[in-house]
Amino acid sequence: MKNNKKYWKGLAQLENNPDIEKLAHNEFAEKLPLDDFLSDDLSSTNTSRRDFLKFLGFTTAAATLASCEAPIVKSIPYLIKPDEIIPGVANYYATTIYDGRDYASVLVKNREGRPIKIENNKTCTNARVQASVLSLYDSARLKTPLKNGVEAEWLEVDSDIKDRLSKIKDKKIILLTATILSPSIISLLENLSKKYKNVEHIMHDAVPYDGILNANEESFGLRAIPSYYFSKANVIVSFGADFIGNWLNNDYSTDYISGRNPKKGMMSKHYQIETNLSLSGSNADKRIVIKPSEQKVLLSDLYSSLSSGSDPKDNRLSEIVKKLKANKGSSIIVCDSNDKKTQLIVNAINYILGNYDQTMSIAMPSYIRQGNTAKVNNLIEEMGNNEIGALITYKVNPAYNLHNAKDFSNALSKVPLTISTSLYNDETASLMEYVCPDNHNLESWGDAHPSYNTYSLMQPTIAPLFNTRQFEETLLKWLDDSDYNSFLSDFWRKRGVNWEKAVHDGFFNIKDRKSQVTSIAKLNENVLSFEINNINKIELALYEKIGIGDGTQANNPWLQELPDPISRACWDNYITISAVTAKNLNLKNWNVANGALNGSLVNVISDDIVIKKVPVMIQPGQANNTVGLSLGYGRMKSGKAANGIGLNAFPLLNSKFIALENIEGEHEFASTQLHHTMMGRDMVKETSLAEYINNPSSGNHTDTYPTWKGDLKADELTFYDQQDLKTGHFWNLSIDLTSCTGCAECVIACQAENNIPVVGKQEIRNSRDMHWMRIDRYYSSDMTQELASKNDVSTIDMYKEMEEPSENPEVVFQPVMCQHCNNAPCENVCPVAATTHSNEGLNQMTYNRCVGTRYCANNCPYKVRRFNWFQYSDNDKFDFNMNDDYGKMVLNPDVVVRSRGVIEKCSMCIQKIQELKLNAKKEGRPVLDEEAQTVCASSCSTNAIVFGDSNNKESEVYKLKNDERAYDLLDHLNVDPSVFYQTKVRNKS
């Protein structure tokens, strides 16, 4: 069956905007910027043709002469070479990343003593963890301790602080930290409270999870987050919890996807009931759009219906109730609400479904979030009442991310001793008397206990870049002790851990005792009560973006430039609003001549809080009369990449209803939504689980074409000479659209591995993004041509129908990089043979041959070639990591930094392929399937991207190539790509 679903990338495309039509026909969105190069208008210049030739001749001669003199290159070896370092060979160290927001156990690739890449250490990571290696080299980090904002010496700062801490008698000493996962820090804090008087520890999460924590405390007597096992669940119902995206620690996607393998004939059924279109909603089998205020209503309804056996009042839930009843003990209900009562209902539902100790466990909890907002609010009050003698902060930025940040800042002035241990002189640190800058994760020792039975260790992968000291060491100094490294190893050795092995592996297991939990008491009926509010106000749903998260790593240009998987916009936050609501409020999005997106501006008002000049983005899938707004932006004291980008939404943390005030002006978005469009062809092949079980090749239809030999498929028709790809290796990449969650981790991994520059907002607007791989996001509707003809729907109505569901579209993510065509259209048109084919099935790009005609990019059907319009390194106009001596330390020495005027594109990590073959040759053995990896494949937490040699019949990629679901993108062109896709399977039953 041919799939006649209509897919579109954005609303403008759906509306057949003529500008977008034009875009689809042009490779490069803009006219050549000749006028920018020549200062004056050409016609009015005084430069004659002769002068021009003179200049040309002179510059050519000068350049030639200059190049005759070879520079003297110095080669400076180590004086005493460390044993483990061989220049030119990478070392890997197992360590842990935890910045107060994201936790992951990782491997760090080191070259010549510099960490350059983060790899997964058998666990799930995300884009921010992948990018944290660049945050290490952030030159905005504090370089020395500060005293009253002035650089100071550690000795002086330490003796001052110790002296003043010991003089505090009656008042409290408060340690305000992010959630502490480290058992050794907890033990240090205990020691601190023995030495000094009245020490109290308060934890604070930027995005609070008090609702679920407090509900669990009431239900089970344990203030913790349960562990969830999504792979064991047949039915997953998420009320707004974006567990694939940013809910909690976003490390559930591996587990989630392993329960969704159509090959096994079983896929979990995932319902997402939410307001904003989230990553989880995009991946859900069925998505129901609700307002935030409806959440509790629906949950109460669900609870009543499940506990009493009656039908739900809301018929949107009837299918869910049926499914849940059929899958008792193998379902999961999760909810993002920060309201304790709502979470109590969720607990009760999971309890009556018998999910505890089956698909989730509170006795074996996760410790990833422990913050307590009530205590923080109490602290602010006490600070205002002069009851606090000293405040020490660690991994928190309350002056930025508290909803009552102003109260905090005001109360701070009444605390006699304030100490920050921030990496940056950020919003909070700049208000503090002392700043004792912490080391970056990758410069520190440490440990973590993120969940039951799981422990991991942190080890330094580089000596501290600046005169900083890790927080633990600072605590030890204040305890008149030192050497945290030996403290840590003693700490764990005493507990029976094989220290050397644990440091090597990066993690270890200790059998924890199961937590004592009380059984759930019967749900108090008054919890179920709610007020039905018919207030016709606009509701607000805050969220975290995949790139920026809560803003901890906001000064990381890779993350700023990472397009949001859903909206495809970067370098911004904005309110997302549905098309209907936007129309009612007279808010608009439109494309300007070069295809860039502009939008209206509004003021967001909630009681006395006004956030001015917020851009508006029309977002399909957004609930009507609601707006979404992302946190983590609007940093003022973070660094040059983050300062002034977007608006701070944290003041609205407790706001439920808002008003929008239309204002004059327009906002310029940097959205990659319409970049590199593939001329309206259908790219996605899709089927349902039931159809797939019936016929594994369902949805994977290939057209035939009438020829004089009869009807033939495109790949049976070619005038190319077939090259020999059977001898030696044939590198292939398989991308499974069913497993791809669109999390964009691979995009950052690719950027880190391949020295891809950051180009900045304006260049993104000019459609000149440089990412070698993009994740295309397609919206689709349920209406198909078949359905229309079956139900006798007129063509006009059919197209109307197709547009209607754009209020709640289905979403498909499709990673696209160079497809490495074996009949490559780009290779034929290059006049200088700069792009050629290898006998291993790779399309090679040779920068030093390229003269920049861009014919190849024009002829590429996938639009994956990127042109270096400018020199992005050492250029003050692109003042990002490549224009910074520290930032440049992250560059991969095995990959060239491209210069202006050449095309670049995905090389299928040729540097890794070459290394792989060389290692096999040196050891005299065949290449192993599991060691063949591109970074997109190795970073993929859900194993959606699989790389390997398809001439090796044992390889995974060989099996995937011959799978019924495998298809080539744009197969009718018969460009014979080395990259292929697996059809998207949804569980519609």
Partner: protein, 405 residues
């Protein structure tokens, strides 16, 4: 130069004389040398220089043989007996006790014979230095000298011719007049003109082409290094394996410049060279902070890195891996780097141009036997090329992305 020569002759004479005078006990000296090398060299040098213990030059003159035997057999006993000289040495060398050696009387006499008159080694290094200097006149200088001589000859001959003509009463002509006459004859002949123009054009073209193709090609580049390190002494005369210092050549893309701690493996004990004495080796000590007198590292020394000048420079856009060529390709270092073991001052031997790389890839056959990686591939390639030699090029060794990415 002359002094050098005479010095050499002098040494040769000494050598011959020593061989003569000790011919009778020659067998003893050889045995003694063997004993010395097996037992003593860890702590003593045959010269004046101190190692762990004193240098042994002239030791048999300073002390009686009986005393020496006692000392060698058990120095501690001798010290305990209150022997003044023994105590003095013990104090001087930081109370380091010398190990006891129980040689037979014959062995002692062999050893003393050797110590009394160690054979003088002829130093070949100096000799080669001389020849190197002699052949130091470059070809261009020779050509210029010849041209100058020819020019002088022209003047001499023309003046001779003129004076002959004068004596015969004929008209004389100056050189410039002669040239003008010749030029007129030349210009009147068109074929000659054409030939000359073509000739000049070809010469100019060839010159331009060569000089342009030579841009960035630095064959024979021989910079002065911060330390006058001689590969000839290390790799040639002393036969140190290349991989001993360039350890990473087998493991990494870089061959690696040895770190100073590798130098110190030998130079902890060898602090004097034959050519430059202590000066050059001292530079290593200055870098790493080593006190050659006490043979200890100076605590808290501010180390100074040695800034070698890199000779083999590939452009950034070319990827080259040493281990690929050394381990997998089993190439000898000399195939690209030339006769390094004969170079006192290292220079760039090969062109290091892309054409040079490619030529080798076209010609070199891949050694596939015995390497598990190639087993299956070799079968396929044998079938594909049916008996032709399988070169690197045939396996994709000319593809751009093998070196450029």
């Amino acid at each position: 130069m002359i002094t050098n020569h005479s010095f050499n002759y002098h040494k040769l004479l000494v050598l011959i004389l020593t061989i003569f005078s000790y011919q009778l006990s020659a067998a003893d000296v050889a045995k003694g040398e063997q004993i010395f090398k097996q037992n003593c060299t860890a702590c003593h040098m045959i010269t004046d220089a101190r190692l762990v213990g004193p240098g042994l030059k002239g030791v048999t003159d300073k002390y009686e043989k009986e005393w020496l035997v006692k000392w060698i057999r058990n120095s501690q006993e001798l010290i305990a007996s209150g022997d003044e000289r023994a105590i003095k040495i013990y104090e001087e060398y930081n109370k380091t006790a010398m190990s006891s050696f129980y040689f037979s009387d014959d062995e002692f006499s062999d050893l003393f014979a050797y110590l009394a008159a160690p054979p003088v080694e002829v130093e070949p290094v100096l000799a080669t230095n001389v020849t190197a200097e002699e052949s130091g006149i470059s070809n261009s200088t020779i050509i210029m000298i010849i041209a100058l001589i020819l020019l002088v000859l022209v003047f001499v001959l023309s003046s001779v011719k003129n004076s002959l003509k004068e004596s015969l009463g004929q008209n004389t002509e100056s050189i410039s007049e002669a040239i003008i006459v010749q030029k007129n004859i030349f210009l009147s002949n068109n074929a000659f003109k054409l030939f000359m123009v073509l000739f000049i054009a070809i010469v100019v073209f060839k010159f331009t082409y060569d000089s342009l193709m030579g841009v960035g090609v630095t064959t024979n580049y021989q910079p002065t290094q911060p330390i006058e390190f001689s590969h000839k002494i290390h790799a040639g005369i002393n036969g140190v394996d290349c991989n001993y210092c360039h350890t990473s050549a087998r493991k990494s893309k870089h061959s690696g410049i040895p770190s100073a701690n590798v130098c110190m493996n030998c130079h902890t004990y060898i602090n004097e060279g034959a050519v430059n004495g202590k000066v050059e080796i001292q530079k290593i000590y200055d870098a790493i902070g080593f006190d050659s007198d006490s043979r200890t590292y100076i605590p808290g020394y501010e180390k100074k890195p040695i800034e070698w000048i890199r000779i083999h420079n590939l452009p950034d856009h070319a990827y080259f891996n040493h281990s690929q060529h050394v381990v997998v390709g089993e190439l000898e270092c000399q195939e690209c780097h030339g006769p390094v073991e004969e170079m006192d001052v290292l220079y760039q031997y090969s062109e290091l141009t892309m054409g040079w790389c490619i030529d080798c890839h076209r010609e070199t056959e891949v050694k596939m036997e015995g390497n598990g990686y190639y087993t299956h591939l070799h079968e396929q390639l044998k079938e594909k090329y049916k008996g032709e030699a399988i070169t690197v090029a045939k396996m994709g060794g000319l593809e751009c992305s093998k070196c450029h990415y």
